[in-house]
């Protein structure tokens, strides 16, 4: 039998069993579309997590007091303030720490700010001009306070956008912090919330002023030191330099008993990356299950029709079909269903990729790999279960096939 005639026979086979053909096509269609859609959602959320991490600035290091010998901090961090302004000036030394671009000591406390019209409770951080760079922030209005203002214990404050808006103040206004009047000299550019805390709700004052009037405590001790490396590439060496320097100034020989801990945003990034990986695996599993369900659907339909098809094969053999004729016919039938189902599935998946973000406000990013895998698996299942029973039946004696149950 020539190919054209086989093709014609295959097509008539499909049209002769419309319901079976439609169900098989649907099984493949839904499997493929589900995979494209779920993987698309997974990819989109992974991308969004990654870009948020990138926005954090990965050249940032934070030094906190206490050690991390166990997950809990030895002695209780913060209570024993082991970080001092000496450490800060040591780190600011470009010779000892060439890969450190900026240093900022931080003390902080929760305080209520009072403006002419209202009051607002927020976090006040005392720091130095290095804060802007280490926090990767910019100003939308006004200026940040200067080293001179830090030295003079100036009563100036820089506000986050949320804080400024809540207090109803702008650059030039005055707010009262712990009863003392502060001049608002700058407003930070909105950063967008990056997770647990609203980084637009805060006030920054000179560290000296903060120690005097807000957090109390020794003018020499600081709660945290923020560092930024010269680039994301030098964060490792900046880390080592800071570590060496502090061990030296704290007279500690064994780094395991260090009384400080250095963490980096890249630690956070790696945590987030593992979260993303988990998310991706989860969605890939969902996708694999949808594919499996679609595949089982296709398999069922194919297997349910095996008896009928086996009888058809027996009859065709009795009338002169060779096993090769039959195999080709069934291959063409299965390939057509798989192809049509696959194409429609990709179409439905892409359509969902457009509709889901509009209707459900969920981002979908479609990449080629899952599309290819989904189509290959679904079509493979269709082909195998369409052809395998046929191949087996084609080897039987015609009467044995005709009598199949």
């Amino acid at each position: 039998m020539n190919l054209l005639r086989t093709f014609d026979t295959g097509m008539r086979g499909l049209l002769g069993h419309r319901l079976r053909s439609i169900l098989t096509t649907l099984g493949i269609l839904f499997g493929v579309a589900a995979v494209i859609c779920t993987v698309g959602i997974g990819t989109a959320s992974a991308n969004s997590v990654n870009s948020r991490i990138a926005a954090l600035g990965t050249n940032l290091l934070t030094i906190s007091p206490g050690s991390t010998t166990s997950f809990g901090v030895r002695g209780g961090s913060g209570s024993a303030n082991t970080l001092t302004m000496d450490d800060v000036s040591g780190l600011e030394d470009r010779q000892d720490a060439p890969d450190v671009a900026a240093v900022a000591p931080v003390v902080s406390g929760s305080v209520t700010l009072v403006s002419a019209s209202t009051n607002w409770a927020t976090t006040v951080q005392g720091s130095t001009p290095g804060w802007l760079m280490t926090e990767a922030r910019t100003l939308s209005q006004g200026v940040f306070f200067t080293r001179q203002q830090v030295a003079k214990h100036a009563q100036v404050v820089v506000l986050g956008t949320t804080t400024a808006a809540e207090l109803g103040v702008t650059v030039g206004s005055q707010v009262s912090i712990s009863g003392a009047p502060f001049d608002v000299v700058g407003i930070l550019t909105a950063s967008g919330s990056t997770g647990f805390t609203n980084s637009d709700d805060l006030a920054v004052v000179p560290i000296t002023t903060a120690q005097d009037q807000i957090t109390g405590g020794s003018p020499d001790s600081v709660q945290r030191i923020l560092l930024s490396a010269t680039s994301t590439g030098t964060i490792g060496s900046a880390y080592l330099e800071a570590d060496q320097l502090l061990l030296q100034t704290h007279h500690i020989t064994n780094s395991a008993s260090a009384d400080f801990t250095i963490t980096s945003a890249s630690t956070l990034a790696s945590t987030a990356a593992s979260v993303t990986t988990t998310l991706t695996i989860l969605l890939a599993s969902v996708a694999a299950i949808s594919l499996l369900v679609g595949g089982i659907g296709v398999m069922n339909i194919m297997l349910v029709s095996v008896t009928e098809r086996t009888q058809e094969i027996g009859l065709r053999k009795a009338l002169g079909a060779t096993p090769r004729d039959l195999l080709r016919q069934f291959l063409i039938e299965a390939a057509t269903l798989s192809f049509v189902g696959g194409v429609l599935g990709v179409g439905a998946g892409l359509l969902a990729g457009i509709l889901v973000p509009r209707l459900a406000n969920i981002a979908v990013t479609i990449t080629p790999t899952p599309v290819v895998i989904a189509v290959a698996v679904a079509a493979g299942v269709g082909l195998i279960f369409g052809v395998y029973p046929a191949a087996r039946a084609a080897r039987l004696a015609p009467i044995a096939a005709l009598r199949a149950e």
Binding site: T9, G16, E312, K317, A318, L319, G320, A321, A397, P398
Partner: protein, 235 residues
Amino acid sequence: MAARAAPAEMTAEIIRLVDVSKVYGTGDATVRAVDAVTLSVNEGDFLAVMGPSGSGKSTLMHILGCLDVPTTGEYRFAGEDVSRMDERELASIRNRRIGFVFQQFHLLSSMSAWRNVELPLLYRAARDRKQTALNALAQVGLSNRVDHRPNQLSGGQQQRVAIARALVTDPTMILADEPTGNLDSHASREVLEILTGLNRSGHTIVLITHDPNVAGVAERVVEMSDGRLRARVAA
């Protein structure tokens, strides 16, 4: 008619069964559906097989049609040992040399009458397949039902479609398993006329029947009982 293989021409023996048995099942449940049958049919013969239900007539017929393989014994078709043929040779014999009318018709339910009749033509080089199929349907008096599906036809009409499908390839030999079983005497006579006509033009016919009148048309009648075959002298 296509040129035949030389041995067939010389012997003129188209079927030769020697000690053929077909055994179903194993152990206590063993059924010898065909039991040591030896039979010779020459080209151009008209043979009728009679016998009670369950005596193994259909089983024998399936073996003759190369649709089933004997458990033991030798089957030569036109001088060639069927057990040595590969799938392609068997397919070619089923398609070109034999037209088979099944007792249960075995029509494909998803296809119209003419598509069913066309089926064997798909597996050979054939022109004007539709016209050939329509001619065969006309021969069995079904010109007015060509587009009907099997489930839209009466039992007798389905049987005639099955006969048309066996005729359509103009085979050397027609094997018909109770071709008149579902027909009234008028339609039955028509089918017999077709078969005798074919026989007169050189086709070999083997048919199974319970009807002595139908058997009476045949030149030769054999009878089966319990899988065994014996010649019967025409009454």
